[in-house]
Symmetry: C2
Subunit: 336 residues, 2 copies
Amino acid sequence: MTKIAIDAMGGDFGCEPIVAGVIEALKERKFHAFLVGDEKLVRPLVPKEFGEFVTYVQADEIFEMKEGATDALKKKESSIYKAIELVRNKECNAVVSAGHSGATMSLATLRIGRLKNVIRPAIATLMPNSQDKRTLVLDVGANVDCKAEHLFQFAIMGEAYAKAIMGIEKPRLSILSNGEEDSKGDEVTKEARNLLKNLKNFVGNAEGSNIFDGSVDVVTCDGFMGNIVLKTAEGVAGAMNKLIKKEVKKSPVAIAGAVLMNKVFKIVKKSTDYDEYGGAPLLGIKDCVIISHGKSTPKAVKNAIFQALKFSNSTIDKMIEDELAKFTDIKNKAKL
Amino acid sequence: MTKIAIDAMGGDFGCEPIVAGVIEALKERKFHAFLVGDEKLVRPLVPKEFGEFVTYVQADEIFEMKEGATDALKKKESSIYKAIELVRNKECNAVVSAGHSGATMSLATLRIGRLKNVIRPAIATLMPNSQDKRTLVLDVGANVDCKAEHLFQFAIMGEAYAKAIMGIEKPRLSILSNGEEDSKGDEVTKEARNLLKNLKNFVGNAEGSNIFDGSVDVVTCDGFMGNIVLKTAEGVAGAMNKLIKKEVKKSPVAIAGAVLMNKVFKIVKKSTDYDEYGGAPLLGIKDCVIISHGKSTPKAVKNAIFQALKFSNSTIDKMIEDELAKFTDIKNKAKL
C-alpha cells in the first residue's frame, strides 16, 4: 500500500481542512496516511473506522509562512521537516504539504535530494484551457533568474509529467515568449529555445494566450514569469467574476438570468478552480512531493493526495533521469 | 487646431476602418486630420462635409507586418514613415498608427527623437480593473532585457501619464514581481526597486493579480513580461467567454438565462474591450505617438485619436523631462 506523509499543520487554516481532506481521500482510495503534526489536535479529527489506515507522527512545531525558507533546515521539529524525513527515510512514498512552499522545496531538495543530473527542481502547475484540457506550466516556484539549461531541463521534466501523469503520448512542449516568431524573446529565452530544438516534441514559442487555448501541453518559463502568469490569470478571472456579480445586482432581470445560468457558472467555476487540481508537483526530486495551496479546502487536499498516489506509482522519475542522461553536455551547447 | 497625422494604411484591414474612425472622431471633436496613404483609396471614404478638416498626404507604400522593424528607416515612401515625418517636421502635433508597432516605435525614436534623458521609450497600455478604473502597465513594447534604470524611467513616465492623462493626483507606482515582499523578484527587479524607493509615490511590488484589483495605478515591468501579462489576460478572458458560451448552448434554461443577462455581458465586454481604449501611448518621445492594434475597429481608431488630442494638449512631456532631470545620476545608484 502506498504510504503518504501529510503535513497536517502547514495550511493557513490549521489541521482541520487537511485531515478532513485525508479522510475524504481514504473514503475513495486505499493508501496509508502518515499524519504529521500535533497528535492531540489531529487524532480527534480521524473517525475510528479509518484508524487502521492512519499513523500519527508527532511534530511539536509549525514552520510559519512568515519564516524564511532558508531557516527550514534548522527547524527539525516542524511538521514539514518531519514529513519530508519520512520520505527521506523510505518510510513513506510521497509527501503532501499545504505549508510554506519555499520551505517544502528546500527541504525536498536538501533532505530527499534531486534526481540524477537535475540542476534545479521545478514546481509545475496545471492551468485549465478552453479545450477542456489542462496545460502544464513550469516553473511557478522559486527559480527566479534561470539560465537556459534550467529552462531546458524544466521542459524535459514537464514532458515526463505530461506523459506519465496526464497520459499525453506526444506532449507539445513550448517556451513562454513575447511572440510566436523565433526572433522573439529575451536573451535567456532565445538561448533556451536553441537547446529545446533538440527535443522532438518541442513546438516553439508559446504566447501568454496559448496557455489557455489548448494549442500546447507544456509551457516552460522561469519561476518569476510563472508566478506572474499564475497571479495574472487569477486576477483576470477574479475581476471578471466581480464585475459580473456587481452588474447582476443592479437589475432584477439580470438576477433572474443569473439564477437560470447558475449551473453554467458552477461549471465555469469548477473548471477554473484550484481545488480540482489539488496541488502542484515538485519535479526533479527523488520522490513525490506535492505542494498544495495554503488555503486548501478538504477537496483540494483529497485531490493532492490522489495526485501523489498517481505520481508515486508512475515511472516519471526514471523517465526524467533517462531523458536528462541523453543531454548531459547540453550546457556546452547553450552558448551556441 | 490640433493636427493629427494618421497612418491610414497600416492596419490589418486596410484603410476603411481607419478612415471610418477618423470620421467618427471628427463628428465629435474639432481637429485636423492628415490622412497618410494612397489618396485614390482614402479620399473616396471621406464625406464631403468633413473635407475642410482633412489633408491628404500621398504615400505609395505600406510597411508590412511581416517586415523587420529595422527596415523601417529605409522605406521612406511608406505611410508610417511619412506620418512620422509630419510630426518631425512640426506639420502635425501627433501621430496615430495601427500599423507595425515595432516600425512605429523605431521611427518615432529615430526620426522624432527621445525626450531629454530618456534612455528607452516605452509603450504603455491600460488594463481594466475591478474598481471600474484602469491600471497603466508599461512597458508592453519591444524593451526586452531591460536594466534597472530603464524600469526606473518607465515608472517616471507612467507616473506622468497617470497624472496628466488619467487625472490621478498621486498615482500609486509599483513594480511587477513574484510576491509582495521586498525579498521577491529577479535580480533586475530587485535592483530597480532600490531605485524606485527614491520616488515618493512608489508603493512597492505588485503581483500579477494587483493589475486587476485596483490596488495600484501604474505597474512597471520590462517589455517581455508586459507582453506576456497582456496575452495571458486576453487568453484567460477569452477562455472564460468560450467556456460560458459552450456551456450555455447545452441547456435551454441557460440560454434563457443568458438572454436575461445580455446587458450584463455587454457591460463586461465593454469594460474589457480594447476598442474602448483605442491605443497605447508611446512614452518618452518628443511628441505624441499612439500605437493602435492592427485589428482596430473604427471605434478604436476614434478613441486613439481622442487620446492623441488629450496627450498633445497636455504637459506630459515637460513633466517627464523635469522628473528625469532630478535623477540623472540614478544609473550610478543602480548598483547599490
